[in-house]
C-alpha cells in the first residue's frame, strides 16, 4: 500500500484532511502528503473506515487544495530512528534535523507513542537529587525518576530556574552526570536560544538532545514533539543506561494545540473547551518518566507550563498536578519583591520526597524540619494577613515573631543566587536558623531531640 499515492482528498479544514474510499487504512498510520508545489508534509491517521479516513496534518493544511494533493499511507506508525549520535543534535517535532546535519540513520526505530509501562515493572524512585536550590531540596525534594513540573506564568523566571536545576542537579556522592533531553514547544526564539546558550556555556551541549518547535513553527507538530522527545529519552535511559533529565516547555502550548484539533474534530468539550481526554493524553506523556526494575538508567522529568492568568485551577495545571508527582509553583508576588527563585512554598509539593530523604539519604531531621517550616510559614502568612488588616502594632508578641519569620524565610531561605549552590546540609542548617526565631512551644512538628540538637532559642531573643 505504501507505494500508492491517492488523490482522493474530500475535504480539508484546519489541521484535518478527509479522504474518501481508501480501503483498510490502519489507525495511527503515518501519512506523507505532497502538495502542488511538491512540498512534503506529514500526517497521521486518527480515524479510519472504508468510507472516510481522517488525517491530522502536522504542518497544517494551508495552501492545500483538493485536486493537487497526493497522499501516501506508509503502512507503519510514526517512528523515530535512534542512535547515540543524537546527542548534541537539534531536531524538529517529528525528528528531522534542524541543524543542517544529516538525518539519523539507524536500524533501531521505535513508535513514538510508546506503550504503557507495566506498573509491575517499575522501581519506586527514591534517590535524592541535590539541585542546590533550598526550596526544592529542603522542602520539595526531587528524586531520580520523578516527574516534577514547574507551574509558572508569563514573565516569571521559570527558564532561569530550569537552567539552574539542569546545571546543578547531581546525586550526592555520585559523579555520573545527567544526559539532557530538551523539548520545546511554541517557545520564542530567544527562549530556545537561552537554553542553548546555557547548555553551551556549562559545557554539557554534547550531552543534550534538543527537539524544538518555535512559536512560528507549525503548531500541530507540538502534538507529536513530546512523544518524539520521550522516545529518545527512553532509548538513552533504557538502551544506553543513562540517567536522563527531560525538560519540556511549554506544556500549555501543547494543550492548546490539542484543543485546536479536538474542536475541529467536534469532540465533546469538558472544561474551557479542552477535550475530556486531556487528562489521559497528558498522562501518556508524563507517565513515561520513571525507573524500571531491571534497567540502570532513569527518566526524570521537569515539565514547565505557564498557568493562563496565573490560575492554578485552569485545566492545564490542574490536570498536570493530578498526574505528576508534585509541582513547584512560582509566585508573581515574590517575583515582584525581587525574590529569586520566586517559589511559592505553600502550594508546592513533592510527593516522592518522603522516601528520598532522612537519615540515610540527607539528614534524620529533614522530614520534620520540612513539615515544620511549612506549618510555621503558613501560620506566619496568616499573621501577615492579620497585620495588613489591623496593623502590625496590634499583633500579639507571638504573631510579631511570626511576621519576622516570614520575612526572613523569604529573603534568606527562598531567595538565593542564580549560581548559588547550597548543599542539603547548608539548606537544613539555614532552616534551623530561621526556626530559632520561634519559641520551642510552637514547634510541635519536630521532636524534643531535634530541638536539643539544632534549635538555638534564647528567651526574649
Amino acid at each position: 500500500m505504501s507505494e500508492i499515492e491517492y488523490r482522493r482528498v474530500d475535504s480539508i479544514h484546519g489541521a484535518l484532511m478527509f479522504l474518501r474510499k481508501v480501503d483498510g487504512v490502519a489507525l495511527g498510520d503515518r501519512v506523507l502528503i505532497r502538495d502542488r508545489d511538491g512540498r512534503r508534509r506529514n500526517g497521521q491517521v486518527i480515524r479510519s473506515s472504508d468510507e472516510l479516513v481522517m488525517v491530522q496534518v502536522f504542518e497544517g493544511t494551508d495552501n492545500l487544495d483538493l485536486e493537487n494533493t497526493w497522499v501516501r499511507f506508509l503502512d507503519q506508525p510514526f517512528e523515530l530512528a535512534l542512535s547515540p549520535d543524537m546527542l548534541g543534535r537539534n531536531f524538529n517535532g517529528i525528528g528531522e534535523p534542524r541543524d543542517d546535519r544529516p538525518p539519523i540513520v539507524s536500524s533501531v526505530r521505535r513508535n513514538v507513542n510508546g506503550s504503557p509501562v507495566n506498573p509491575a515493572a517499575r522501581a519506586y524512585p527514591r534517590e535524592f537529587i541535590q539541585t542546590g536550590v533550598s526550596t526544592i531540596d529542603g522542602l520539595n525534594s526531587l528524586v531520580r525518576g520523578q516527574k516534577l513540573p514547574v507551574f509558572s506564568g508569563s514573565g516569571l523566571p521559570h527558564n532561569r530556574l530550569a537552567a539552574q536545576i539542569v546545571r546543578q542537579a547531581r546525586l550526592p556522592g555520585d559523579s555520573s552526570n545527567f544526559v539532557i533531553v530538551f523539548a520545546a514547544m511554541g517557545v520564542s526564539y530567544s527562549d530556545a536560544r537561552f537554553f542553548e546558550h546555557e547548555f553551551e556555556s556549562s559545557g554539557v551541549l554534547r550531552n543534550v538532545v534538543m527537539f524544538v518547535n518555535l512559536a512560528n513553527d507549525p503548531p500541530m507538530e507540538r502534538l507529536i514533539l513530546p512523544r518524539t522527545a520521550l522516545t529518545a529519552a527512553e532509548y538513552l535511559a533504557y538502551d544506553l543506561d543513562h540517567h536522563v533529565l527531560v525538560v519540556i516547555t511549554d506544556m500549555t502550548n501543547y494543550a492548546e494545540a490539542l484543543r485546536e484539533v479536538a474542536t475541529e474534530k467536534g469532540d465533546v468539550p469538558s472544561r474551557k473547551g479542552y477535550p475530556g481526554y486531556l487528562y489521559s493524553d497528558l498522562a501518556e506523556i508524563y507517565e513515561r518518566a520513571g525507573r524500571l526494575r531491571d534497567r540502570h538508567g532513569s527518566i526524570t522529568m521537569i515539565p514547565i507550563l505557564s498557568m493562563p492568568s496565573d490560575d492554578i485551577t485552569h485545566p492545564i495545571p490542574d490536570l498536570t498536578g493530578y498526574i505528576t508527582e508534585g509541582q513547584i509553583v512560582l509566585s508573581r508576588e515574590l517575583h515582584g519583591k525581587s525574590v529569586y527563585p520566586p517559589v511559592n512554598v505553600p502550594p508546592s509539593l513533592s510527593r516522592l520526597m518522603k522516601d528520598g530523604i532522612g537519615k540515610d539519604d540527607t539528614r534524620e531531621d529533614h522530614p520534620r524540619v520540612a513539615s515544620q517550616l511549612y506549618a510555621a510559614y503558613t501560620r506566619a502568612l496568616e499573621a501577615r494577613n492579620l497585620a495588613s488588616i489591623i496593623g502590625a502594632e496590634e499583633l500579639s508578641g507571638r504573631d510579631r515573631r511570626y511576621l519576622q519569620f516570614a520575612d526572613r524565610f523569604e529573603t534568606s531561605f527562598v531567595s538565593q543566587g542564580e549560581s548559588e549552590e547550597r548543599n542539603i546540609i547548608e539548606t537544613l542548617d539555614l532552616a534551623w536558623e530561621l526556626l530559632s526565631l520561634l519559641p520551642p512551644g510552637v514547634l510541635g512538628r519536630v521532636t524534643a531531640e531535634d530541638l536539643r540538637k539544632y534549635h538555638s532559642w534564647e528567651e526574649g531573643g
Partner: protein, 592 residues
C-alpha cells in the same frame, strides 16, 4: 465471524450478525479484546480495552458469546491485576516491561495446586444450594478460602473429591440438578462483573471500620459495609488516606483499585506491603491484600471496567463471610472513561460533557457496598471508599456532587490544610458522616462511655474557633474575651495534637482506638482546666507561655499504642502546674 467497519480511538464499529449487547469480542490480527456496548442497525459498537493503534477496517472479529466476567477462586490474594483481571506479573513475563496487546491470560494460576478440604456434611447424596461452602483451602497465612458453589447451582451431590491437593482446573464435585443435568464444579467459577452477586438478605452494619486515623475514626467514622468518598484537589492526600486504610483498617481483606492514577503509587504498595505487618494478624499485609491497576497511561476503556472487576471480586470474598474493604482511586477517572465513551458514541452530554446516566451509574456502583447475610449462611460486608478528583478542586462539579448524594461518609480534603502540611487534610467543617451514632455504641462499649460527649465537645470547639477566627480577621484579636481567646488556643491544640497525624510517622501512622480517645480526652481536659483558670483571672498569655502546647503535640508520636500510661502521667504534670496557678490566683486555696 464479522469484520471491522470503523476505528475511532477506543470505539470500533463492527458488523457481525447475531451479536448481543454486552458480549465480549476479539478483534483483528492482534486479538484485541472489547465489549459490545451499543447495537445500531447492522452495526455493533465495541469499546476496546486495549489501544487500537494499527487496527484497520476489514479485519476480522470474533464474538466470544459471554459478557465481561472474572474468575473467582483461590489465588487472587497477593496479586495485581489489570483492569480486566489479567495478572500484571504474567503480562510482564510475556511482553516485558511494556504492556503488550492481545495477550490471552487467565487470572488464576492453572499450575498451582491447593490443599482442598471438602465440607464434612456435603457427602454424596447431600443437597447443595447456590453459594454454599463446598470446601476449604488455605489461600494465605491469614485467609482461609471458602470454595463456593456458583450462585445459580443447585442439586444433589453425586461426587465429591476427598481431601487432597488439586489445581483449579480439576473437578472437585459433581452435582445433578432437578432436571437431571450434571454440573462439574471446580474450585473456581466465573461471574459477569456488571451484575451484583446475589445474597440472602441485607442487614445493617454496626461495627465501625477502624482505620487508626483519628480524624476518620473519632470524628467521621465509617461502618463496615458502608460507603464513603474522599474528594479533594490534587495533592490534598486522597491516595494517602486510601493507602492508610489499606494498611491499617480492621477489615479481613483489602482490595486496592488504582483507576487512572499513577504507576508509582501501585509500585509503592507492591514494594512496601509484603514487609509491613498487619497489626491484627501479626502477618504480612500482602496476605490479605490484592490490587487492580489501570494506571492513567493505560487504555481508558479498561479503566471503566476495572471498577466492576474490583467490586465483583470484593463481593466474592464477602460471600465467603469476610469483611472486605475496596478503595477506588479515583472514581473521577472512571467517570471520565464513561464520558469519553459517551462522547465517541455521540450521546448527548448534560453537564461538563458527562452523559445523563452518570448519576445512576455512580449510585449503582456504590449500591454494591453493604453488609449481607450470605447464601452460604454467614455474614459478610463490602465497604466502598472512592476517591473523587474534582477539576480545580471544585466540589460542585458533577462527579463530586452526585457522589455526595449517594455516600454516607464524606471525608472532604481541604487545600489550605494540605498547603500548611496539616495531614490528613480532612476538613472538620465540610466532612460528614451518618454513622456516628451507630459507631458511638461500639466506642461507648469498647473504649469509653464518654466518647460521644468528647467527640461532640471537640467538634463544638473547632466550629466555635472557626467563627471566632472570622471575627479576629475582621476586627482583630482585641475584640475577643479571654475565654474566647482560650477557645482559639485550645482549638489550635486539638488540630495539632489530635487531628494532625502523619502517615510517615513510625509510631503515629496507626493510632489505636484507646489512644485516640485518651489523646483527645487529655487535650480537652487541658482546655477545661485552662478555662477554669481564666475564670479565676489568669491571663491567657500566662497559659500559652507554658511549654505544654508543643509537648502535647508531640505525645502522639512518642507514646506507643501498647503503653498509654505516659498520657495519664502527662496529665498529672499539667495538673501540678495548673494547681500552682490556681493557688496563686484564688488567694491560697488549692484544688479541693
Amino acid at each position: 465471524m464479522g469484520e471491522v467497519v470503523e476505528v475511532n480511538g477506543p470505539i470500533v464499529t463492527i458488523r457481525e450478525a447475531g451479536i448481543r449487547n454486552g458480549d465480549q469480542v476479539t478483534i483483528g490480527e492482534l486479538g484485541l479484546v472489547g465489549e459490545v456496548i451499543h447495537i445500531r442497525h447492522a452495526d455493533a459498537l465495541v469499546q476496546v480495552y486495549e489501544s487500537t493503534e494499527s487496527l484497520r477496517p476489514g479485519e476480522q472479529v470474533h464474538g466470544l458469546g459471554h459478557p465481561l466476567s472474572v474468575e473467582l477462586g483461590p489465588g487472587l490474594l497477593g496479586q495485581i491485576f489489570d483492569g480486566v483481571q489479567r495478572p500484571l506479573d504474567e503480562i510482564m513475563r510475556q511482553s516485558g516491561e511494556h504492556i503488550g496487546r492481545g495477550l490471552e491470560l487467565s487470572a488464576l494460576d492453572r499450575t498451582r495446586s491447593w490443599h482442598y478440604v471438602p465440607e464434612e456434611d456435603l457427602v454424596v447424596g447431600a443437597r447443595l444450594h447456590g453459594g454454599e461452602v463446598l470446601g476449604r483451602v488455605r489461600e494465605t497465612g491469614v485467609i482461609e478460602h471458602r470454595v463456593l458453589a456458583p450462585p445459580e447451582c443447585r442439586g444433589e451431590i453425586i461426587e465429591h473429591a476427598p481431601e487432597g491437593d488439586y489445581t483449579i482446573d480439576e473437578i472437585v464435585a459433581r452435582v445433578r440438578s432437578e432436571a437431571g443435568s450434571v454440573e462439574d464444579l471446580r474450585m473456581y467459577h466465573r461471574w459477569p462483573v456488571r451484575e451484583p452477586r446475589p445474597y440472602r438478605a441485607r442487614s445493617s452494619g454496626n461495627q465501625p471500620l477502624i482505620t487508626g486515623q483519628r480524624i476518620l475514626d473519632t470524628f467521621f467514622p465509617l461502618l463496615k459495609g458502608g460507603k464513603a468518598a474522599v474528594p479533594g484537589p490534587f495533592g490534598a492526600g486522597k491516595t494517602i488516606v486510601q493507602q492508610q486504610i489499606a494498611r491499617w483498617s480492621n477489615a479481613d481483606i483489602v482490595l486496592y483499585v488504582g483507576c487512572g492514577e499513577r504507576g508509582n503509587e501501585l509500585v509503592e504498595i507492591l514494594q512496601t506491603f509484603p514487609e509491613l505487618i498487619d497489626p491484627y494478624s501479626g502477618r504480612s499485609l500482602m496476605e490479605r491484600t490484592f490490587l487492580v491497576a489501570n494506571t492513567s497511561n493505560m487504555p481508558v476503556v479498561a479503566r471503566e471496567a476495572s471498577i466492576y472487576v474490583g467490586v465483583t471480586m470484593a463481593e466474592y470474598y464477602r460471600d465467603q463471610g469476610y469483611d472486605v474493604v475496596m478503595v477506588a482511586d479515583s472514581t473521577s477517572r472512571w467517570a471520565e472513561a464513561l464520558r469519553e465513551v459517551a462522547g465517541r458514541l455521540g450521546q448527548m452530554p448534560v453537564e461538563e460533557g458527562y452523559p445523563a446516566y452518570l448519576a445512576s451509574r455512580l449510585a449503582a456502583f456504590y449500591e454494591r457496598a453493604g453488609t449481607v447475610d450470605t447464601l452460604a449462611g454467614g455474614s459478610g460486608s463490602v465497604s466502598l471508599i472512592g476517591a473523587v478528583s474534582p477539576p480545580g478542586g471544585d466540589f460542585s462539579e458533577p462527579v463530586t456532587s452526585h457522589t455526595k448524594e449517594i455516600i454516607r461518609t464524606f471525608w472532604a480534603l481541604s487545600k489550605p490544610l494540605a498547603d500548611a502540611r496539616h495531614y490528613p487534610a480532612v476538613s472538620w467543617l465540610d466532612s460528614f458522616t451518618d454513622y456516628a451514632e451507630r459507631a458511638g455504641r461500639w466506642w461507648t462499649r469498647e473504649v469509653s462511655p464518654d466518647w460521644p460527649l468528647r467527640r461532640q465537645q471537640a467538634l463544638t470547639l473547632l466550629t466555635d474557633a472557626d467563627e471566632l477566627e472570622r471575627i479576629v480577621n475582621l476586627v482583630g484579636p482585641e475584640a475577643l474575651s479571654s475565654a474566647q481567646r482560650w477557645v482559639l488556643e485550645s482549638a489550635g491544640l486539638v488540630k495539632e495534637a489530635v487531628l494532625q497525624q502523619s502517615a510517615l510517622d513510625e509510631i503515629d501512622s496507626f493510632c489505636s482506638p484507646h489512644k485516640q480517645f485518651k489523646l483527645l480526652d487529655l487535650v480537652l481536659r487541658f482546655h477545661r482546666g485552662g478555662a477554669d483558670l481564666i475564670d479565676l483571672g489568669v491571663p491567657v498569655e500566662q497559659l500559652t507561655e507554658l511549654p505544654f502546647g508543643g509537648e502535647l503535640a508531640r505525645l502522639k508520636s512518642s507514646v506507643p499504642n501498647d503503653d498509654l500510661a505516659p498520657l495519664d502521667d502527662y496529665w498529672k504534670h499539667i495538673d501540678n502546674a495548673f494547681d500552682r496557678l490556681r493557688v496563686e490566683y484564688s488567694g491560697g486555696s488549692a484544688k479541693p
